[in-house]
Symmetry: none
Subunit: 376 residues, 2 copies
DNA sequence: GCTATGACTGAATCCCAGA
DNA sequence: GTCTGGGATTCAGTCATAG
């Protein structure tokens, strides 16, 4: 079972990390205020949508649609909703690390207000992501397009924030080697995944699919990160975080939801270390400078480098720089210079000849890296 | 040629309908104020996005992206942008018939502010529609998801407005007899459709595809309706309206855009009654990436994949990549790697064991495709 | 005439470690 | 905090030219 703390009890706790992997019971903003500054890596928030339903909705067969008409989804006005949004986003900003990011999901009823408030609070939007539903509810009256998607906003806490996690290479590799787009296709949460009470009724009206959270956490967090969900509900965020080797903390007011989420998370088995390893690209590889190749004897002073078409050439100097046309500089500077460009990746531009074939000097780096055997 | 009126000349005109099928030259709000109350049926607005771009962006080949850095897209602050948005939306509301509707297109840079302002002004949002681009620009630095869509908001001028046009049956009939969804797939405007100047350069930085406007007008207007575009630009709205037998009125400040739009519209031949059927978007082969199998639970992290002869094996990781012999990569890269080849089709190479028999993971894709019901 | 290759392009808020 | 410089990074499509 995940630990559950009323806010007051959490405040009294002597353990400064008591809240990790637990559910805090209470009001969202008050609970956030009990957490330390800059302590969480990722926030996923599924706030009330402020659905403005004008009475019951009937299907063509006159059955009534089980709409989300819970008390917590009712706001007196846009102003009240904006004030609420501002308050919880401000509280989230404080607990978010400078390198962290926040996700908020919503529909057209509320997402525009959330997005504008994020911008007003100086969050920096990285993407808006569209969750396309494979099986959305039809529009029964035939007066609108079928509302077949929801929108998520992914943002960093500051326009200048740079170090946020985005597992670009893993996303691309798992997507048939093309970069992941901003439109995602998933089924809604139904069937065995949907939590049901003893009465067979759904426990929570807006339970999100685990696949959606899995993509979010795989994209924007690392194993061991702390993931906060200020509107925990049925605990999808916690269940997925635990399975993926992330820590979680949830905030929820309703005891029924807390009970369901707590039991759900307890049943989750975390994946192992091998399965959780995230694919990284060149950026994560240890740096190998050009002079290391020289010192290892993989290239030699006086040797000629050319581009793949043999249109440009340069000579290696003993100090690890190149020279061409009477000028000298690093492999990158000289690659740029001979092409008349501002910048150039010398590792992929310059080639050496081996057995009649040209191969990029970048290949020589991997020789060095394998010799290092993971050491630096 | 479409008639072109400076605002002052329009005001002096004795013909109360002089503005129909014409372009009004001048500031958006001033021009709107020269039009009669409740006189247009549909508004399509493509306002400045307020992109807030930093320095130049280079492609990996070092070429520079031709950014939209025009003066008309620059705003001093969100407050300035909001004031601008409020002003033109208020002016639009006055000229819109009570049975009319408005469409506004934008990206995450501005659409949240537009949507919130629409709600503040008591417009009633009917749908938000996602334009999924078949061929969006990539994210060159690998720091975000590829920004592959734009968002449109469709709204009526009042929560109680009831008589708006929505050609539900035509939309459904043109969509394989299922309801038209809120996510639409179209290519960006390029090739022969893109207006070019004598210098071969694009006339307008943000010309929208005619197919998008055709879908909008076929869905939400009737032949003979008047369609207003307060940010006329290259005149896509006018060209499509004329072709579809609707009247148009455009507002534009820049003479270059007016000249191009005017000539463009003059060349349009209206369709006959019979041809006025709804145009459908692009239907593509559903592309199912490996992560979709994972997210759907058809394969699991930790599961072992082998080739058909069980000579090679690899383990599935949670990020949708494979690992073997301490290395990782996509199903294709790892298929190639274990065989010592340059390339490999991972879909046919890797197999899962089911009831003692091996079956290629490609077979699992058909399960997904049937679940997706033709969605891509 | 047909195919292959390469150049070019699109509403883009696009790096980061170390000095 | 700023500045320097190593070096990492792209998809779908059109069009012109070469073979």
């Amino acid at each position: 079972m995940a630990s559950v703390f009323p806010i007051a009890e959490l405040r009294r706790s002597s353990d400064p990390l008591a809240w990790v992997d637990s559910i805090i019971k209470g009001d969202c903003v008050s609970a956030l205020e009990a957490l330390p500054d800059k302590s969480v890596d990722v926030i996923f928030a599924d706030p009330p949508y402020n659905l403005q339903l004008g009475g019951a909705l009937h299907r063509p067969d006159q059955s009534v649609v089980d709409a989300c008409d819970d008390e917590w989804d009712q706001f007196a006005s846009f102003e009240a909703y904006d004030a609420f949004t501002r308050a919880w986003l401000l509280a989230c900003r404080r607990v978010l690390k400078p390198t962290g990011t926040i996700w908020v999901i919503g529909s057209y009823h509320n997402i525009f207000r959330v997005g504008a408030t994020l911008q007003d609070l100086n969050f920096w939007i990285l993407n808006d992501i569209v969750w396309r539903k494979t099986n959305p509810m039809p529009n029964f009256k035939g007066r609108r397009f079928q509302n077949a998607h929801e929108t998520m906003i992914w943002a960093s806490p500051d326009p200048k924030a740079k170090g946020y996690t985005f597992n670009y290479d893993a996303m691309k590799a798992s997507n048939d080697d093309v970069q992941m787009r901003s439109d995602w296709l998933f089924p809604i949460c139904s069937g065995g995944e949907r939590l049901k009470g003893d009465d067979g009724k759904k426990v929570h009206p807006t339970q999100k699919p685990e696949a959606l959270l899995a993509r979010i956490l795989m994209a924007s967090s690392k194993p061991g990160d702390i993931v906060l969900d200020p509107f925990f509900g049925s605990g999808t965020t916690g269940a997925v975080a635990k399975r993926l080797g992330r820590h979680f903390v949830g905030i929820e007011r309703e005891q029924d939801y807390i009970d369901a989420a707590s039991a759900r998370i307890a049943a989750v088995e975390p994946l192992g270390k091998v399965e959780l390893t995230v694919l990284t690209g060149k950026k994560a590889e240890p740096r190998v400078a050009f002079n290391v190749l020289l010192e290892a004897g993989l290239v030699k002073p006086g040797q000629v480098l050319t581009d793949i078409k043999r249109r440009h050439s340069a000579i290696i100097r003993a100090d690890g720089t190149l020279t061409a046309n009477g000028e000298g500089g690093s492999i990158h500077r000289m690659g740029a210079k001979v092409q008349g460009l501002d910048a150039c990746n010398g590792w992929t531009f310059w080639h050496v000849e081996e057995e009649g074939a040209l191969k990029p000097i970048d290949d020589l780096r991997s020789v060095i890296r394998s010799r290092m055997g993971g050491l630096e």
